[in-house]
């Protein structure tokens, strides 16, 4: 169904959400960064943003997570209830919503189910919001059925049509949102929303043609392309820590005498310890192997294993790389070989 939320009444709408869900929405913090965080009142929401600095992935796959605590002879797993509250992600961009589907491929396999991720995922309703004015760093339209208004993976979808939002429910979870009191969307509203959508899709013109990518990558493991590419890379963790589809993690124990816990932290293929073995051997010692691994993983290996690229074209790595190593230019370089 399609309904209308007047912007003036958006705060009330969020108020009703807050009574049923834990709501996570974009917030501008004191240091001026737009991050998704849990809100306690509608006023905290900040909507004049292109996309958040850190992806909302951090609320399904947190940067730090206790797997279990232990005492001598006893292992205590955090109760599932602790992470099973009803939650709602508000105003998530379509690329980030798609990243959840990509993370599902890794964490929600039937052989080994990551209970921490899956519990949160299954209790989260996703209220996405289309990108009316996508920036030049975005290239989401490169990926099939992806774009500033793609609805895949969302329970409901918001379109900003000037002084109001058009909200469209896409799943029954979306239907269960408190929309009864809202007026239905008029044909005119629907038409305006479609125009906004069309304009936005055209704006994302950096569209790469990836059909040949897999076969090119297969043949180029020893290519000198990687020698030229990696030189300026600093092997810091910015591109991986701000990426919505990066899923690598480290497991380590934190202990004090006989008590402690096992913690899962984000990890990065760029870090020295990622593949360093106790013998001192490291199959990926320098930025060359690591940059090659990052590109191969996202655009070759992940595709081979799961049939989808591990990239949604959100542009965060493009914007934040300290040396402006632009992944779009990398892909264009590979495709032109």
């Amino acid at each position: 169904m399609k309904k209308i939320i007047e912007k003036a009444k958006f705060a009330d709408f969020v108020g009703t959400l807050l009574s049923d869900y834990e709501v996570f929405a974009p917030v501008k913090n004191e240091n001026g960064l737009v991050l998704f965080s849990r809100i306690s009142s509608p006023e905290e929401i900040f909507l004049d943003f292109r996309n958040s600095k850190k992806p909302p992935k951090e609320f399904l796959f947190p940067q730090v997570e206790t797997l279990f605590e232990y005492e001598p002879g006893k292992v205590k797993v955090p109760s599932v209830e602790a992470i099973a509250q009803r939650r709602l992600f508000l105003c998530v961009r379509p690329c980030d919503v798609k990243s959840f589907l990509i993370l599902d491929e890794v964490f929600d396999t039937e052989e080994f189910q990551d209970v921490y991720y899956v519990t949160r995922r299954r209790n989260t309703t996703i209220l996405a919001m289309g990108c009316v004015d996508p920036p030049s760093t975005c290239f989401c339209t490169t990926f099939d059925e992806m774009g500033p208004f793609s609805r895949e993976g969302a329970d409901a979808f918001l379109v900003d049509i000037g002084d109001r939002f058009l909200i469209e429910t896409l799943t029954e979870r979306g239907e269960s949102l408190p929309l009864e009191s809202l007026p239905d969307a008029s044909d005119e509203d629907v038409q305006t929303a479609e125009d906004v959508e069309k304009k936005a899709v055209e704006k994302v013109d950096r569209k790469l043609e990836l059909s040949k990518l897999g076969e090119k990558l297969d043949g180029m493991f020893e290519s000198p392309f990687w020698d030229a590419l990696h030189e300026k890379c600093l092997t810091c963790g910015v591109c991986t820590y701000l990426c919505p589809t990066c899923h690598c993690f480290d497991i380590s124990d934190e202990a004090l005498d006989s008590k402690g816990r096992r913690v899962r932290n984000w990890d990065s293929c760029m870090f020295p310890l990622f593949t360093l073995q106790a013998s001192g051997h490291n199959p990926r010692p320098t930025s060359k192997e690591r940059m090659r691994q990052r590109i191969m993983h996202k655009f070759n290996y992940f595709y081979k294993n799961y049939g989808v690229y591990a990239c949604v074209g959100c542009g965060r790595c493009v914007e934040n790389c300290p040396v402006n190593l632009d992944i779009r230019k990398v892909l264009e370089g590979i495709l032109s070989l």
Binding site: L67, V77, A255, N305
Partner: protein, 276 residues
């Protein structure tokens, strides 16, 4: 079922395997007996052993599925977890997660001649495979074992090796790098001994585990003996954390050593990039 949750296990027995005391064999038994019954594994699989407060590390299962009771692991003292393990005593509690990974292709090996080539301390899962075949001796053809170590004191499972030497249904060739007094067996590196033993590649499979340098010189010998890549298997070691194909680090090409391995055929490895 939480795949990251280790089961508690007690160290029943600790045995020092090598003269430099860097390798110890641990026999672990689950605190909860019912876990042992559920723990059915195949030779070649591994487990993640937890030393609480220090971390977790992957170790090949050295005991064979045909041996019930405690599960055997041989640990080389190298990093944080292995050093912590070496500092533990019998009766201490550790965590055990597994069995993980694939195993040697037992079905494929049935009725075939098996050549086992081991080097240094990489004889743990090879022991599991050998004991499994000896306990189901009729199902396999000729078994040839070539096992090399630096010095006589560096062999693992010495008592069993002497038992195997006395068996007539197994050809065992032990070799050490340099002559040592009191040693009558072969002297020489594994690849040269293998060439001398020259097992037939007819209807046979070879399983090779050992330091990279040994593998590098063993492959050409196997090739000369007529072993095709699909007839040669090995078990690889990579840095691992989750052990279940999620934490992203142990990949060779698109395959994860923890989930799609650790056992690979050389036909598979030739298709993958040389990044291990």
């Amino acid at each position: 079922m939480n795949p990251y949750l280790p089961r508690l296990a007690k160290i029943e027995k600790i045995k020092i395997e090598t003269e430099d005391k860097m390798l110890k064999t641990f026999e672990l038994s689950f605190l909860d007996e019912s876990e042992r019954k559920k723990f059915d594994f195949k030779p070649g699989q591994f487990c993640e052993i937890s030393v609480f407060g220090k971390g977790e590390a992957p170790f090949g299962i050295a005991s064979s599925p045909t041996e019930d009771g405690p599960i055997m692991f041989t640990v080389n003292k190298a990093g944080v977890v292995t050093t912590a393990l070496h500092n533990l005593y019998e009766g201490d509690i550790v965590g055990l997660r597994g069995p993980l990974g694939n195993s040697y292709p037992i079905e494929l090996f049935k009725g075939k001649n098996i050549v086992i080539v081991g080097g240094g301390f990489a004889f743990t899962t090879l022991r599991a495979l050998t004991v499994y075949m000896l306990d189901n001796r009729g199902e396999f053809g000729e078994i040839t074992v070539v096992y090399g170590a630096r010095t006589p004191g560096m062999f693992l499972y010495k008592e069993e090796l002497s038992d195997w030497e006395r068996r007539d249904d197994l050809k065992l060739y032990l070799t050490i790098d340099k002559p040592a007094e009191g040693w009558e067996g072969k002297v020489g590196l594994v690849p040269s001994v293998l060439e001398e033993v020259a097992p037939s590649s007819e209807d046979a499979f070879a399983v090779v585990c050992g330091p990279p340098i040994m593998i590098k010189f063993t492959l050409p010998v196997l090739d000369k003996l007529g072993f095709k890549p699909e007839q040669i298997y090995t078990s690889l070691e990579m840095r691992m954390k989750c052990g279940i194909g999620k934490c992203g680090r142990c990949n060779i090409g698109h395959l994860y050593v923890c989930k799609d391995g650790p056992v690979f055929s050389y036909a598979q490895l030739r298709e993958l990039p040389m990044e291990y």
